[in-house]
């Protein structure tokens, strides 16, 4: 890094300490750039560690595993959780309501729900990951294996021997 940009980075650091609202660019695998606040981006442990390691904040972060549609939705979550305070009971309730509406909307489009889950996993956004996986778990809950296989198109590939083992275990249940 040239001295000039080093100084600029130092100045940016100082500015960040002052205002605490640095902007960060995230780029989807389709090359589309999204500008978000640092507070929003820090919801992702992956980006957080890159920022803290002094990564190239100015150039932005390319996210080769995330498409634009998914990234936009993920950012919607991060904005809400990163930019808003959750100090009071009311503020926390508002955030909980956001989560509820957010996941209800995702739940209607399963394929998209899995895309967002993958992105949350890849970006290590703990809250979002828990939210989406919990939602998927809720759809499995109380179903028999046969029902789950049908609902999710899982191919039945257990051999007779596997089945025998499971049945063996099942006799206790």
């Amino acid at each position: 890094m040239a001295t000039g940009s080093g100084a600029a980075a130092a100045a940016a650091d100082a500015e960040e300490k002052e205002s605490g609202s640095r902007m960060i660019t995230l780029t989807s695998n389709e090359g589309k750039a999204f500008v978000v606040t640092e507070a929003s981006a820090r919801q992702s442990a992956t980006i957080r560690s890159m920022v803290d390691d002094g990564g190239c904040v100015d150039k932005g972060f390319p996210l080769p595993n995330v498409d634009s549609k998914t990234l936009a939705r993920v950012i919607q979550y991060c904005d809400e959780h990163g930019n808003k305070e959750a100090h009071t009971v009311d503020e926390r309730a508002a955030l909980a309501k956001f989560d509820k509406d957010f996941i209800a909307e995702l739940d209607a489009d399963k394929a998209f729900l899995y895309d967002v889950t993958m992105a949350a996993n890849y970006l290590h956004i703990q809250g979002l990951f828990a939210l989406t996986t919990q939602c998927i778990a809720d759809t499995i809950k109380g179903k028999t294996p046969e029902e789950i296989r049908t609902a999710f198109g899982i191919e039945y590939d257990l051999t007779a021997q596997d089945e025998e083992e499971i049945k063996e275990e099942d006799t206790h249940a």
Binding site: H87, T88, V89, D90, K110, A111, Y114, T117, M118, N121, F129, A130, T133, Q134, I136, A137, D138, I140, K141, G142, K143, T144, P145, I148, R149, F152, G153, I154, E155, Y156, D157, L158, D162, E163, I166, E169, H172, A173
Partner: protein, 424 residues
């Protein structure tokens, strides 16, 4: 990934770690069933760090002396859980939740030695009597891996510690979150548990019953909290002594300064209860509130606050860091005018010092549910608007009445007037 290509298997695109995470939300029986889905799923459920024993046990009896009727379903589940914990390929369980539904202590096998999160909830239907007697006796030291446990959430459990000579000085070094809902314990055992967790950050005690043993005469009716690392404190309603020690008052005290405290929610109906002891009660109340003076956010629901006399020594409580304040006043009393007079001079809050109001207080939430129309809300709002120099938000909610608009229209005016007065 043939299935994915056919647009069939929705899960095939998700890596194992995601599937394990999904399994971790399932109950024990649902999780075990996933083993029968496919070869890929078969071993995964044993990798889940969570074990959720969600049992609803009906027909449980509450009395101390009565035995819980044997429940064959529980017996089988208990057997299965134990078997699964010993299964080859079992990953360590770090989260355990659910209620065994019986008084058998949890005997942690090897796989559970590293449990970090433990949630035990006994669902007994709607019978409130169960809050007064224990349903599941949790022998903490023997049941819980003290050196790894991080989150402990118990509902309707009885907490008992072994005799003091068995207790290590800090048996819960990592415990950060303790939530108790409708539990019961000897007062001293709970206090000891809390002080044994030096890193406790969140303490939530709701509808707790303190029980009292005649043979343990060391309980003096004082509940002393020692939690130096506390950031969030909730004491919610009905913290009472059963089998009574001199009435129902629990003498709350904070032993440590808890300098990191940011959230406090106190819902203390109990202060309303014993007017005869009002002086002792008042002293305890103000002292306890004073010990929480570092908090940034304070939510109070103390209906009889207006009738709690101030201490004579004139020591004001100064909340130097206070940023959010919510006060809930219960208005079930018909004589609103009576309580209005008492709340109007807000002994507790004006008593907390004008310095804090002027320099720190930024957010005020006032909620009124008034039967009769009067100008109290307006007065109170005016007081805050004029006094607080750095006020960002003054939120007034008065339900059906429409003071809000009236007040909001005036807030700006009051503030301008006040600052002009200041200049002169």
């Amino acid at each position: 990934m043939a299935a994915a290509a056919e647009g069939g298997d929705l899960f095939s695109g998700l890596p194992d770690e995601v599937l394990v995470k999904i399994i971790s939300f399932l109950s024990f029986t649902d999780a075990a069933r996933t083993a029968a889905l496919s070869r890929r799923w078969q071993p995964l459920w044993l990798c889940s760090p969570a074990l959720n024993l969600n049992l609803v046990c009906s027909g449980i009896s509450y009395g101390h002396r009565q035995r819980v009727p044997s429940c064959p379903l529980d017996e089988m589940l208990y057997h299965d859980v134990t078997a699964s914990l010993r299964a080859p390929g079992r990953h360590p369980v770090t989260k355990l939740s659910g209620g065994p539904g019986r008084r058998r202590p949890i005997q942690p096998p090897r796989a559970m030695r590293r449990t970090e999160e433990l949630r035990v909830q006994i669902d007994c239907g709607n019978d409130d009597r169960s809050s007064l007697t224990y349903v599941y006796r949790l022998r903490l030291i023997s049941s819980i891996p003290g050196d790894t446990i991080r989150i402990l959430e118990l509902a309707r459990c009885r907490i008992e510690l072994p005799p003091p000579d068995h207790a290590a000085p800090f048996p819960f070094p990592r415990l950060a979150v303790l939530r108790l809902e409708r539990c019961s314990s000897p007062m001293r055992d709970l206090a000891t548990l809390i002080s044994a967790a030096p890193n406790l950050a969140t303490l939530h005690i709701a509808r707790h019953s303190f029980c009292w043993y005649p043979e343990r005469d060391c309980d003096d009716g004082r509940f002393v909290l020692h939690c130096p690392s506390l950031t969030s404190l909730t004491l919610d309603n009905d913290i009472t002594c059963i089998e009574g020690i001199r009435g129902t008052l629990v003498d709350l005290a904070m032993k440590s300064k808890a300098t990191d405290l940011t959230h406090v929610y106190l819902n203390l109906q109990i202060w309303y209860y014993s007017p005869g002891e009002s002086d002792a009660t008042a002293s305890t109340f103000w002292k306890f509130l004073g010990s929480l003076r570092n908090t940034k956010s304070l939510k109070l629901n103390v209906p009889a606050m207006g009738s709690i006399p101030l201490l004579d020594n004139g020591d004001n409580i100064v909340f130097e860091n206070l940023k959010h304040l919510e006060v809930e006043c219960d208005t079930e009393t018909d004589d609103w005018h009576h309580s209005k007079k008492e709340v109007a001079d807000l002994p507790g809050l004006t008593g907390c010092g004008f310095d804090c109001l002027q320099n720190h207080l930024k957010r005020v939430v006032l909620q009124f549910q008034m039967e009769d129309v009067n100008c109290f809300g307006v007065r109170l709002a005016k007081f805050f608007a004029e006094t607080c120099k750095v006020l960002d938000v003054l939120q007034v909610d008065d339900g059906a009445h429409n003071f809000r608009r009236h007040i909001n229209n005036n807030v700006g005016k009051w503030r301008t007037n006040a600052s002009e007065k200041q200049k002169r």
